[in-house]
């Protein structure tokens, strides 16, 4: 009897789905026919006058006119030979980069934009999701105006959940314009130029290197993933914490029993020990008191420290100094 573990079962299911999808016939028939010829940009302008107007002042207009192999083609440098399209006025007979599928060898734009910044485009979240360059860029625009909308609004258009997070009380200063989405994210698949490794935490350390350590006394989640405690876009809790203190900390740690004890006057003279009938015990108020305490007010070096804490419990790794 063949038995499969859960991952094994999922693998088999995945393989079956892939096989089924592969067998579906595809209809791929857009673009110029093989016998199409280049006809020059003047012919394009006779219909697309709105695009041609001022095109020579745009970034692509300026650059294409200075590259020998493109100077005669201009529009057809990107859109391919246009004779069939011009004759039949069929939009399927010309390359429209905005409608390319992502299934080609590589996106059309990468023919020219071939430097290392775009080397990983195919593996980027955008590239693999089949996002076209023209989804974000206005190709027929002047330098400095080649985004459809300035960021971060451009990104918010699709990432609406992130927009909501950036309006929470604690957030990275993106809405204030101090950071950009690209400060952290590899929009074109390019690695962050100041990241020094592939570890997900490394991205955070580029701006917050004091949290990296290595420390003599560690807080282990810091070595796992910053996102265990922090949500980088924005949170209701302070300091981008996913939950407010002490709730967040109590997800992993037991609360000190002291923390819940109600207060008492500090007597001028030392009180007489009253054990076993001590005069302080937990009360309902004590619970409230406990929940009004922030753990990091005492455990102030929560990301790690090189100094031993006073208490022996935890061998000095209480992260209080």
């Amino acid at each position: 009897m063949l038995s499969l573990s859960k991952p094994g079962l999922y693998s088999v299911l995945l393989a079956l789905i892939l096989a089924a999808l592969w067998l579906i016939p595809a209809d791929v028939s857009a673009g110029p026919p093989p016998n199409a010829e280049y006809i020059g940009s003047e012919a394009c302008g006779s219909c697309h006058d709105d695009v041609m107007e001022g095109f020579s002042e745009t970034t692509h207009g300026l650059l294409l006119s200075k590259v020998k192999k493109y100077e005669d083609k201009l529009c057809e440098s990107c859109h391919g030979p246009g004779s069939a399209h011009a004759e039949q006025q069929d939009p399927d007979l010309i390359i429209n980069p905005a409608k390319t599928s992502g299934m080609d060898d590589k996106p059309l734009c990468l023919d020219c934009h071939s430097d290392s910044k775009f080397a990983d485009w195919q593996f980027s979240a955008h590239g693999a999701e089949n996002v076209n360059c023209s989804t974000c860029h206005t190709v027929h625009s002047k330098a400095g105006q080649m985004l459809k909308t300035p960021t971060p609004d451009l990104c918010y258009g699709c990432h609406t959940d992130v927009r909501a997070e950036f309006y929470m009380p604690s957030h990275h200063p993106v809405t204030e314009g101090k950071l950009d989405c690209e400060s952290c994210h590899n929009i074109h698949g390019t690695e962050n130029k100041f990241a020094m490794g592939d570890d997900s935490r490394e991205l955070c350390f580029t701006c917050h290197p004091d949290k990296e350590g290595p420390f003599m006394f560690e807080h282990e989640p810091v070595n796992e993933d910053c996102r265990m405690c922090h949500s980088p876009h924005g949170t209701v809790a302070d300091n981008l914490l996913v939950q407010s203190e002490p709730t967040l900390c109590l997800n992993c740690h037991a609360m000190h029993f002291h923390t819940q004890l109600p207060g008492q006057d500090i007597p001028d003279e030392e009180p007489v020990p009253t054990d076993p009938n001590r005069f302080i015990t937990s009360t309902p108020d004590g619970f409230k008191i406990g929940m009004l305490t922030k753990c990091t007010q005492c455990h102030s070096e929560i990301h790690g420290s090189d100094l031993p804490s006073q208490s022996i419990s935890g061998s000095g790794r209480a992260l209080t100094r």
């Binding site: 579906i24 595809a26 590589k106 693999a128 258009g157």
Partner: protein, 572 residues
């Protein structure tokens, strides 16, 4: 520190560039924009909460903003900047010359304020009914508005050395300088349970330099990058006085508190920043054969903290491969493997009972067995299928493995395995409308557990009454009950993402979306751990030609979290 000089140099540099450009010394076609204005703010203390990056003050400030775009036959350059107030300003310059040289230089300053007084909630806590012995607090300095200015400058250069091999020199530098005041806290355990705060000067400097070479010939590209980063605090160390430890309940001396007397009566430095030097080397390669693309990297990095003389080394690599099997079927594969090694050292702390009453000598030496020591691996395979010109499907499967050595104790091992899969379908009718649906599933075995993790075992059979105290249970001393190995991290996670865009006309676009996340820990015997998030959204964008675009949207976010938190139900 000469940061103010550095700032001034940047200002002078940008002013000189503006003069050069506008005077016509640099001959080019220019496009200018200049914006003048002013703003007035009137925040009160409440604004601290939401004004973390908005400067608090009741003053009117002039504002100025500008952009300059210039182009010649072979060169493109731009300058832009804004002065909002003397704590918020930026300027950037970009230049591309003859396709051989490009550079970007930018400078920015902004202020980050502490959102709350670190002693504030003690006031609330102690207002519950009784004055507090546990905890009392004291602000030893009177500064109330803690915060720092972050000065950040970046420069990036690219120089073509040999066009034949596309050989380029790539360099970048960034410095980040934080200057201001921060609120530091310290606790004297445990007679007074006394939390005190002091103002500490912030002078933190981060410098990073990258230097690399890139080259390509035919189908093959290679690159090498060396990076070096330092972090150091130049502020004077601060110290706090540790008072005498006594019984927190009775106020009397007690042998059991001897362990907390190590620093009695001393001023001890607190909150010292690490002194970090990190360097890394990375080699990259790419082979592009049209239908087949293979790239990868190998990296080595070493991070050293000079305060504690610790370091850790990460050696790793990645490989990515994509191939177009047919015009309708593209396959992606990704693999990553890295190993982190951190040195184990013994920290020598005086025996805690030496010269004090009670018990035998107990060595307090601490051997650091770092949880950084680990092996990390990840692999994914993904298929992108074009079913017809309008419909595209993707399916992904992946596996992630983290093996931790020496965690939580020397020689012990723990491993977390995550299997994940996702699929999506997208339908697009030209530019008219687009619909997509995506689902992701993650299954995790043995997710990370915190050191001395929380408990699930019922305590009725374990808790023992204190001798002579019929109503007292010392829960916190029952280590078998208190420290166990469960976690509130999920073992199964579902993510659903639906979105739709409809372009009603060339000028008006509508979009709507829904994102849902549900996760759960299924490895627990009795407790429930579930998290859910629900985020529907709608939006509209209206563009009147190329001159202006109006974007507006609304997102509703509902998050729910159910899980155990450990509060003490019984104590002494």
């Amino acid at each position: 520190m000469k940061t103010s000089h550095t700032t001034n140099r940047f200002v002078v540099l940008f002013l000189a560039l503006i003069v050069l450009v506008t005077s016509g010394v640099v001959r080019a076609d220019y496009t200018y924009s200049l914006w003048l204005g002013s703003h007035y703010t009137d925040f009160n203390d409440y604004a601290k909460k939401v004004g973390e990056f908005n400067r608090i003050g009741s003053d009117a400030y002039p504002e100025i903003g500008f952009t300059i775009l210039g182009s010649t036959e072979d060169n493109l350059f731009s300058l832009d900047g804004q002065f909002y107030d003397n704590k918020n300003a930026f300027a950037n310059m970009r230049l591309r010359a003859n396709n051989r040289f490009s550079m970007k230089i930018g400078y920015q300053v902004f202020r980050k304020q502490l959102q709350f007084d670190l002693l504030d909630n003690f006031n609330a806590r102690e207002a519950i009914g009784k004055k507090a012995k546990i905890l009392s607090h004291e602000a030893l300095d009177s500064i109330m508005d803690y915060g720092f200015d972050r000065h950040q400058a970046e420069a990036e250069f690219e120089l073509m050395l040999a066009e034949k091999y596309d050989l380029k020199l790539v360099a970048a530098h960034r410095f980040i300088f934080d200057k201001g005041d921060e609120q530091k806290t310290s606790i004297s355990h445990c007679y007074s349970c006394h939390v005190s705060t002091k103002s500490a000067e912030v002078k933190r400097l981060t410098n990073q330099t990258n230097l690399g070479l890139e080259a390509s010939k035919g189908d093959v590209s290679v690159g090498y990058k060396f990076s070096y980063r330092t972090f150091k605090s130049y502020a004077d160390d601060i110290s706090f006085f540790y008072d005498e430890a006594k019984n927190p309940v009775s106020g009397g001396d007690a042998e059991e508190f001897s362990s907390r007397e190590i620093y009695n009566g001393k001023d001890m430095p607190t909150g010292i920043y690490p002194d970090i030097r990190k360097y890394s080397s990375k080699v990259k390669f790419q082979v592009d054969k049209g239908k087949h693309l293979l790239n990868g990297s190998f990296s080595y990095s070493r991070t050293k903290n000079d305060v504690s003389n610790l370091d850790n080394v990460v050696v790793g690599g990645t490989v990515k491969y994509t191939t177009m099997i047919s015009p309708k079927f593209r396959l992606y594969a990704y693999g990553a493997l890295s190993k982190t090694t951190s040195n184990d050292v013994v920290y020598d702390i005086p025996p805690w009972r030496e010269g004090r009453t009670g018990g035998d000598l107990d060595i307090f030496d601490y051997r650091r067995e770092s949880s950084l020591d680990r092996l990390y691996g990840k692999g994914t395979i993904k298929a992108l299928i074009r079913m017809n010109p309008k419909t595209r499907v993707h399916v992904l499967a992946g596996y992630e493995h983290i093996r931790r050595y020496d965690y939580p104790n020397l020689g012990s091992e723990s491993a977390t395995n995550t299997y994940f899969g996702e699929g999506s379908i997208r339908f697009r009718d030209g530019l008219k409308y687009k619909l997509s649906a995506k689902y992701r599933l993650e299954l995790t075995n043995d997710p990370f557990v915190s050191y001395k993790g929380i408990f699930e075992k019922p305590g009725a059979d374990i808790l023992k009454k204190e001798n002579g105290a019929p109503n007292i249970y010392y829960y916190q001393r029952e280590r078998d009950l208190r420290y166990q190995n469960i976690t509130t991290l999920p073992t199964i996670k579902h993510v659903v993402n639906l979105s739709g865009n409809y372009r009603a006309s060339k000028k008006v676009g509508l979009n709507a979306g829904l994102k849902m996340t549900i996760d759960k820990n299924t490895e627990l015997d009795s407790l429930t751990v579930e998290h859910s998030a629900f985020q529907p959204s709608v939006g509209i964008d209206v563009s009147a030609g190329n001159k202006w675009v109006l974007n507006t949207g609304y997102t509703y976010s509902y998050n729910k979290s159910t899980g155990p938190i450990t509060v003490v139900m019984m104590d002494g």
